[in-house]
Amino acid sequence: MKGEVLATPRLDVLEGPNDFVIVFEVPDVPRNAVSLGVVAGRLELDAVQSLGEREAKCFVPRRFRASVSLPESTDFGVVDASLDAGLLRVRVAKSERGRTRQIPISAAS
């Protein structure tokens, strides 16, 4: 079988004090078939499944595409990603401006 089917991956977006973590579900996608990019403040994913020989006889692989918008406070200069067990975890650091700061409150005397 030839071709591929476009699919939107299930994903979670988590916000921490210093970063955002985006988790994409991309089962059966090898590392070399993942493309991640930043376009106009959006995180863009394009990943293609690589089916085994037996499965390829019965199924068409899926192409996962997603575009996630993140707040302006995101520093797209600092992005790291890891792929494990069919999950792609992308960490995007917040810029200095977006970080959570604790403001000390002084006791009035």
Binding site: D12, V13, E15, V21, P27
Partner: protein, 163 residues
């Protein structure tokens, strides 16, 4: 004249009376034809993508279970069916807040009625890149066995009776 009734999932009542006549067939019918059957043991239940197919001498079950750990998946097989149970769980790490969520979280159970005898000893399962593959080799088909017919000569007795 019987009219179509919406009771019991829209099946014609006649259908059930026929099943009842055969005694216990009703249960078998639904176990065979309901592809997914989940016991309400947990609040949330998920339905991962499953596919069951045949490849030559093997049957293959493929399930997309991104993020699953092998030790959290239970696969059992008996003469009639293969059952896969597991849990898809996502935890929000300490200090993080969920902003968007489309990944599913919960338990799943998937049953497949085996269409032919399986060599249960050689069934294997792997989990790679978030995909579970269970390979079920078909039991080696023993062709019809020839039973030799041995001719028994009882000439002596016959001769004896006739005379």
């Amino acid at each position: 004249m019987q009219t179509l009734s919406r009771v019991r999932g829209g099946y014609h009542p006649e259908f059930f009376s026929i099943l009842e006549k055969f005694g216990g067939l009703e249960r078998d019918f639904f176990e065979t034809f309901s592809f997914r059957r989940v016991e309400p043991s947990s609040a949330s239940v998920v339905a991962p993508r499953f596919a069951f197919f045949e490849d030559g001498d093997e049957l293959v079950l493929r399930a997309e279970l991104p993020g699953a750990r092998a030790e959290r998946i239970e696969a059992t097989i008996d003469r009639e069916r293969l059952v896969i149970r597991g849990e898809a769980s996502q935890s929000v790490p300490e200090g993080y807040v969920s902003r968007r969520r489309s990944r599913e979280s919960g338990e799943f159970e998937h049953r497949v009625t085996l269409p032919c005898p399986i060599d249960a000893e050689r069934v294997s399962a792997t989990l790679e890149r978030g995909v579970l593959i269970v390979t079920l080799p078909k039991a080696v088909a023993r062709g019809p066995r020839r039973i030799p017919v041995r001719a028994v000569t009882a000439e002596a007795e016959c001769v004896g009776e006739q005379t």
